[in-house]
Point group: C3
Chain length 138, copies 3
């Protein structure tokens, strides 16, 4: 069986991280699947998906690491092309990736206790982000 659910979340711009675990767990429950795979995918090239212990400290630490990898206020060739200011966003998003897949067991994603599924906003402005929760299984 295949299920697909679209959701939206509003973000405040670069460094904002949203815990979407409750939405993913609810989507699995609604599907009735007990075994299978859930894939969470963010459409767009300036955001990413991963897991983290969702508490403000770890979230801020992650943002600081990405600021070192691709500083917001550096020169980017992407800026020259479009007059954009979000070159750092594209680089960070490409490195993190837009997709996360988590196995299901007994109808629940097999996450650790302190492990949440998060959408990481990298764009320099607030966005309304569409993400897809996709389920495969039985």
């Amino acid at each position: 069986m295949v299920h697909i659910i679209e959701r939206e979340v509003k973000t405040r711009g670069q460094g904002d991280v949203k815990d979407v675990t409750p939405e993913v767990v609810a989507a699995v429950e609604e599907s009735g699947l007990t075994d299978g795979l859930v894939t969470v995918f963010v459409a767009g090239s300036t955001a990413g998906m991963t897991t983290i212990e969702f508490e403000p400290g770890a979230v801020a630490d992650l943002d600081r690491a990405f600021e070192q990898i691709a500083p917001r206020h550096a020169d980017y060739r992407h800026h020259l092309r479009w007059g954009d200011d979000n070159g750092s966003s594209h680089v960070r998003a490409a490195i993190l990736g837009p997709s996360l897949s988590v196995p299901l067991k007994d109808g629940v994603p097999v996450l650790g206790t302190w492990q949440q599924i998060v959408l990481v906003e990298f764009d320099t402005r607030p966005r309304a982000r569409k993400y897809i929760i996709q389920l495969l299984g039985e």
Copy 2:
């Protein structure tokens, strides 16, 4: 239903990024699947898969970030082992990862408008890269 398609793309070496979205879209169309998941996987430990806005500026910015994370002309223990010069390639590829999964909806990968599926070459020499397009769904 399960489908697997193998494709090859020639790269010019480190920093070369290939847009494989047309091949992925065509593979989905040929499969006849409307709903499911497409996984694109590059076999090999010196290349990776991700999404990016595929324009030369963003691609160059990504390369620069990886050059900072794992500089090409630094010392690597991997070089001592094999006499290779591609320690930077292995590190970059392990961080990016070889796999990307994208949900399908109505027979199309649910990518953003400016979001392409790309194979990122990290090796220090040109390669003929095999990658696999794998489809699960109905």
Copy 3:
């Protein structure tokens, strides 16, 4: 068909990398699947999954890159919250990601010759790590 297998591996703490390819290959064989997708997922927010050429040089090079991205002995806000010392672990794990999906062909994961599936320990202490091998296919 859906199969799920749980495995455990003991690690020695940050920088320890475990080759779990034999366990994954064995799980695929036991399942009897010939075509499909295998997803390997580590439950927990201080470890990650990827592929690498599994030899001590490349593994040490990867550790050095992560030490630059998120130095172990830096200040982390996560430390202020819990009195933990593993802020570097959370940042590294979020960047690498907990999940890896590999297509199957003829009953074997389509890895390159020098490409192994690895669990990367980022926590600052030894751990007994649970990971899940999940199979979808036919």
